[in-house]
């Protein structure tokens, strides 16, 4: 047992190493220099003096991010920082904060959302799966299956928008955006988390229900079920007490994997991708330099963004919606126009990450 755990741990470390190395190389292979993106060419003017200021600033950034060091050193500096909890700084065009701050700001909200989504999915999927296995191939089962298919086919980013519009705006039952911490106001907390959790859960419901159904159909054909029935045990008891537990192994495995994927994957990785290319920056504060972004650049070069720059800058390029829709959970808090000032550090309630993994996750076990 200990040997197995040790072996798995070694594998895990190896995979983490390769994944980070791969990410590092991927960003590294990209042409161009990161400081050029942090300091747009035309931002301060074209005079000699301005150019000199820019060059100095760039050199500053390079030194700060260890970009002047050899590649392997950059990687290991980052890796060393990463394992000791120093994730480097998060660069925006005008500011700089430790990445770990951003992670600790957003991680609790992510975890809450993940837990709610998984719980909701299981609470709906288990009875649905049990019932449709019990009524296999009857009309009610077929209806449940069709519903599951429909749920799988919903793009969850669109579902998030649609729910935010109907339930939030048209019906006005819950605020369409915003986040309230549970210790602040529990009712509001539930209200703000309901829609994101639901839109994340929908795809999972379908997957869980189908997994449970197929395992349960097999279990129900086993002799011990026949035995239980022949003893006169009620159908409900046979289903819930005798058949459910032996049928739930796959379901629980996949649910467990999803929890891991949701915590580690959806947000954690995003935060990690960026620092991987920057090397380990020193923690000294950066000379705040007002960087003016000319209006004509906005929108035009959206397609030229790079991954590490993409997320923070998106908010600058996107035409601001007139309503309180906050475009992305990944934006730094400030650009959300309709937010009540800046004090709340947590990110806005995520429009669910539009990632396909809902449909993929079960296939990852293999």
């Amino acid at each position: 047992m200990a040997a197995l755990v040790a072996k798995k741990l070694v594998q895990l470390v190896l995979v983490v190493f390769l994944v980070t190395l791969f990410t590092f190389m991927l960003v590294q292979l990209k042409p161009g220099e990161p400081e050029d993106l942090l300091v747009p060419l035309s931002s301060v003017g074209t005079t000699e003096e301005a150019k000199q200021v820019i060059d100095e600033y760039k050199a500053d950034i390079r030194a700060d991010l260890n970009l002047d060091k050899p590649l392997y050193e950059q990687y290991f500096l980052w890796l060393g920082g990463f394992v000791t909890g120093d994730l480097g700084d998060y660069y925006n065009v005008s500011s700089q904060r430790p990445v770990s701050d951003r992670v600790s700001d957003s991680l609790p909200v992510s975890i809450q959302l993940m837990v709610y989504a998984q719980l909701l999915a299981l609470v709906v999927a288990i009875p649905m799966g049990v019932y449709s296995a019990y009524r296999a191939n009857r009309p009610s089962d077929k209806a449940a299956n069709t519903t599951a298919f429909a749920m799988l086919a919903m793009p969850n980013f669109a579902l998030g928008l649609v729910l935010a519009y109907y339930v939030g705006v048209v019906l006005g039952w819950v605020p369409p955006t915003g986040y309230t911490a549970p210790d602040e106001n529990l009712v509001d907390h539930v209200k703000t988390m309901a829609l994101p959790a639901l839109s994340l859960a929908v795809g999972q419901i379908a997957i869980y229900m189908r997994l449970l159904r197929s395992d349960m159909i097999q279990t129900l054909q086993e002799d011990f079920i026949l035995m239980a029935k022949s003893k006169g045990i009620s159908n409900a008891r046979v289903l819930w007490r005798h058949a459910l537990r032996p049928s739930s192994l796959t379901l629980l495995t996949v649910a467990g994997l999803n929890v891991g994927a949701l915590i580690g994957g959806r947000r954690g990785h995003r935060e990690r991708v960026r620092p991987a290319r920057h090397g380990r920056p020193h923690r000294r504060s950066h000379p705040e330099q007002p960087v003016h972004r000319p209006a004509e650049r906005r929108g035009h070069h959206r397609h030229r963004l790079r991954a590490h720059q993409l997320l923070p800058r998106l908010s600058l390029h996107r035409p601001r919606p007139p309503d309180p829709q906050c475009p992305r959970p990944l934006n730094p808090p400030k650009p959300c126009s309709a937010r009540p000032a800046p004090p709340v550090p947590g990110p806005p309630p995520p429009i669910p990450p539009p990632s396909p993994p809902t449909a993929r996750s079960p296939r990852r076990r293999g």
Binding site: L18, P31, A158, G265, R304, A307, P321, D323, P356, P357
Partner: protein, 279 residues
């Protein structure tokens, strides 16, 4: 086949036909702007699905969007199917060290959240703005990125199925008759693995269409003004309050298409008895 299957086929045929015939259909161009229908809902005169935020015909944009979205879905999965399928076949048939290396590579690729991987790949393939070089057109970049993301998934499915089929005795019989490995791989094993690959590929097309939408929402999908379902939704998001149909119509199109693809994938799976546990 059930009614559902016929409906699914019907919808896929309709949307494909519309997408293919878009240039010759009697409708307004996707980028012609008609001020009077800006934000008008479905039913506006001469524009059955209304207009978008700046008065472009929603029907036309949705049909042209289908062109981009379907093409991206099919082309990217084709890449995954060819590369991943071949790698999976080889890994599952020959096993041994080659299998270990390939499976390890797939596992590492799978360890990335797929959207993040797609995002980094897109940005990787993009030309550098300062250097001013060309690079691939954005739609092709999305295809390549989503194709690469789909490779490990399709490879694993193919490998799992190949493993079971390669142990059947007819493979032994073929070797006893003196068949070479490539012949066995493509004539004996592949035809049996194909249904599983195909049914997953159908699901994959759906996932890729949704993923394109996700990338569009992050601003790295198909480049405007060429419409795709994803970027119509992204554009319409801002006017969700006063013109929700701009988001809803392409969302419904994605929903129906993915539903039909999933349904067809399931029909194939049931028909050819593809073991779900192998997935």
């Amino acid at each position: 086949m059930s009614i559902g299957a016929w409906l699914a086929i019907g919808w896929l045929a309709l949307i494909t036909a519309l997408a293919l015939l878009a240039p010759v259909l009697p409708m307004d161009g996707p980028n012609e702007s008609f001020g009077e229908i800006a934000r008008e809902g479905p039913g506006a005169e001469g524009h059955i699905l209304g207009g978008d935020g700046i008065g472009r015909d929603m029907f036309s944009r949705t049909v042209y969007g289908a062109r981009s979205s379907l093409l991206i879905g099919v082309a990217s999965i084709l890449i995954g199917l060819i590369v991943g399928g071949l790698a999976g076949l080889i890994a599952g048939y020959f096993r041994g060290r080659l299998d270990t290396v390939l499976t390890g590579t797939f596992d590492i690729l799978l360890a990335f959240p797929s959207l993040v991987l797609a995002l980094s790949l897109v940005s990787f393939f993009r030309a550098d703005p300062e250097a001013g070089t060309g690079g691939l057109p954005p739609a092709q970049i999305v295809v390549v990125a989503l194709g690469i993301v789909s490779i490990p998934i399709l490879a694993r499915i193919t490998r799992a199925n190949t493993l079971t089929w390669a142990q059947r005795e007819f493979v032994l019989a073929a070797r006893a008759q003196g068949a070479k490995h490539p012949r066995i791989l493509f004539r004996e094993v592949l035809p049996n693995v194909l249904p599983a690959m195909f049914s997953i590929a159908l699901l994959g097309i759906g996932v890729a269409i949704i993923a394109e939408g996700g990338l569009s929402l992050l601003g790295v999908g198909v480049e405007l003004p060429t419409p795709s379902w994803g970027n119509i939704i992204a554009e319409g998001r801002g006017s969700l309050r006063n013109a929700p149909h701009i988001v809803f119509i392409p969302s419904i199109a994605i929903f129906l298409t993915v539903l039909a693809l999933n349904y067809m994938g399931d029909v194939i799976r049931t028909r050819f008895d593809v073991r779900e546990s192998a997935l």
